[in-house]
Symmetry: C2
């Protein structure tokens, strides 16, 4: 008989997101990686008991668009347009080595676990996808991961590689990592940018997606000047081009989708494409305001992500939820998007975007035990269970996280990482960014914009 | 010889805001209520030593527009337009008693001290201004305070009072409180809304402002539908009407100023009127986006405030700084407003708005010792002193506050209020809101929108 590990979480305000808006005071029993019971009072014995009295329990948050390899580049390039920002960040990204790529991923994952994110979808990098996977495995977060192909003349020379090599390594990555790390890792196919990927690769990725039933993750329609370049090259938008190539058959995940025509909205809707909304970066790079209320009313699935710490400069999904709710209202009115809409984007709709909605996105019996427990404080007082979701969106913050459970494992306890020393991670990060910048300077790839 | 109380803050990254962009690693000596020395290394003895190694030291933040009497109403009315929101909140405000008004102010001040705000400008209330002053005195924050007059037919009946009484009590309040609480309290003249105040009161307030040299604080041009009503009544905008009455001679502080004509901008500029910008509430109530970059380039002083926890639903100025920077960029481009611009609004420009710039707003020898020390963590790592202000605006958060010093007194230490128990404050807040709602129900002034 297999050994059962059990956790009993007692007496918290549970926000289930089970589709029936059920929020109540109660207990949750976790057995191994699953939620076994949710009841007003559970009397079972358990290996570990967590007292959640006076605390709020939510499903682990889901970030459907992040760039772990850029966490080290936080606060380096500020108040710049997207293309100028990329001119600073891409060269730095090319100066990672295995060690710095691993540290960058680790720093980002640690921050997300501490702020209540239990699942991420990483855009990956052309190099060191393996180091990202090891960081995911070592820290215990749930993740959709892949290797990114950058093989066209549009890719900077220092990141460009052979087409065949990219496709082979992509398939190797899936074979090695899909379903690994206690089933925490699933694979996706990240396509960094339509123009930095050759048509040969796009077609190859379509075949891989079909063979392994994995989703495709890309950036689309982020910026007006970017849209123009793509129109010049392809005669159509990213969304239309992906549709033309038949990539839309494969559970597309498209980050940003800010500047989108009615025709393109129709493509998103008809092909069940998920929009991955990243409000902080969209604002900071002055890209624009994504028409999220229009997507929601049109039945298009929208999820959330912090995108990159190099632009955001956070990876806290509470920060994104608040901004996602606030930024639409001056444009469309106070009822255009509600706290409930936004909280769904961060939980149940995020799970749908990653094709994991049978596993995660709500607190329900049989689902994976990805659970976050939040402290209440004077910052979110007075508190009322009837109004918990607006409080979560407008008053709570990732810094209120007390406990993070992923796949039935307690990774954050009393606000601290259980297995990793935060001070040590900071020291590693400072060492690593110095190492990357030194290499960038040596290779003449460094622009100091600080 | 008077006894000197001294604090030596050692080895922190000091952001001075002294007008010369001086940020460096060093020590600060506080003597009684003043900053005595700022040097790379200070060897003087001191009563208290604070080790700020690896921490960031900033001038205490200044919130130039808050409503302490509404802190209790957090998360009660969400995703509503300004007027609908007021229809819920104003009746609740009228159901305060002395006890609940005091608790509401205390809860708000505690939250602000914990998140790095050392000075506030409160809009006050028609009732219980005294209780607010006692909360300010008891908690030790620096504040500009006043009694609010609501005496016209536009004021809700349950808040309306006699004109003469309002003016007499306003002057009494100044006589009682101006310069009190170790000089932490200065008085201002809050005018809640142009239409809820009679012309007789406006003229009376002008005379009081001249007699006592105190500034006038009001709301102006917040909302398009509000602007229309004011035009119908007065034939001009709030800004123009205040100008016509000569109230602009008296250091006007005008919150919001979202919908403002070129002519009105000219009035703001020519009369040195300070705009008090409150981005979260402007977004949440869908009021609009204030033209802050245009104000800054036009030489108009702009400061920041969280406004009210009943709409915001925070009182954390770091949250406002980030939103103030991000919300302008989609409209005007990534360089339209910088992290530096915003950090000035929260410090030096806030001090100017309150006529306290000789006393506070920067870390300089001779100024009041209003100082905040921030923890660094993986959330704002890697960290570089050369880039500290963008990090403060985009990555730090009020929850990173380690120590808050106001007027040379340590009020927050290791992230906790020194003299007040947070759990106890939460219990008081929950008791008080229940008491207010019970009274509102009894008086038929309660709308349940939760």
């Amino acid at each position: 008989m297999a050994i059962k590990n059990t956790i009993l979480i007692k007496n918290g305000y549970i926000v289930t997101m089970n589709g029936k808006s059920e929020n109540f005071l109660g207990d949750i029993l976790v057995e191994n990686d699953r939620i076994k019971k949710i009841e007003a009072r559970i009397v079972d014995r358990a290996d570990q008991i967590i007292d959640a009295s006076d605390k709020v329990i939510i499903p682990g948050l889901i970030q459907t668009h992040v760039h772990l390899c850029q966490t080290l580049f936080r606060n380096i390039a500020n108040d710049l347009a997207l293309m100028e920002w990329l001119d600073i960040i891409m060269p730095l990204e090319s100066c990672h080595d295995e060690e710095t790529a691993y540290i960058s991923a680790k720093l980002g994952i640690a921050e997300m676990l501490k702020s209540g994110t239990t699942t991420i979808n990483d855009m990956g990098a052309a190099n060191f996808a393996t180091e990202t996977a090891y960081a995911v495995k070592d820290l215990g977060i749930r993740a959709q991961l892949g290797r990114t192909i950058m093989d066209s003349d549009w890719a900077p020379e220092y990141l460009r590689h052979d087409t065949e090599k990219g496709l082979v390594e992509t398939e190797d990555f899936i074979n090695k990592w899909h379903g690994q790390a206690d089933h925490n890792i699933t694979c996706g196919l990240p396509i960094r940018w339509i123009l930095t990927t050759t048509d040969q690769s796009l077609k190859g990725l379509k075949d891989i997606a079909a063979k392994y039933h994995v989703p495709i993750h890309t950036h689309a329609n982020e910026n007006l000047s970017e849209n123009e370049v793509i129109f010049q090259e392809k005669g159509m938008s990213t969304i239309e081009y992906f549709c033309k190539l038949g990539l839309t058959d494969h559970k597309l995940q498209m980050a940003h989708c800010i500047w989108v025509s009615e025709k393109e909205k129709q493509i998103l809707k008809e092909n069940n494409i998920s929009v991955l909304h990243c409000p902080s970066c969209n604002n900071k790079a002055a890209s624009g305001i994504a028409p999220v209320p229009e997507y929601l009313s049109g039945g298009i699935n929208v999820s959330l992500g912090a995108d990159t710490a190099a632009c955001n400069d956070n990876l806290d999904l509470f920060v994104e939820m608040r901004l996602a709710a606030l930024m639409q209202k001056p444009r469309l009115g106070p009822t255009s998007i509600s706290a409930d809409d936004v909280f769904k984007m961060a939980t149940s709709e995020g799970a749908k975007a990653l094709l994991l909605d049978k596993q995660i996105g709500s607190i329900e019996v049989g689902k994976k035990a990805d659970i976050v427990i939040l402290n209440r404080s004077i910052r979110n007082s007075p508190f009322n269970i009837d109004n918990v979701i607006p409080a979560l969106v407008y008053s709570f913050n990732g810094r209120d996280v007390n406990t993070t459970v992923v796949n039935g494992r307690i990774l954050v306890k009393d606000g601290r990482l259980v297995d990793f020393d935060e001070h040590q991670l900071m020291k590693e990060a400072e060492y690593a960014i110095k190492k990357v910048i030194a290499k960038a300077k040596k290779l003449n790839r460094y622009q100091d914009k600080r």
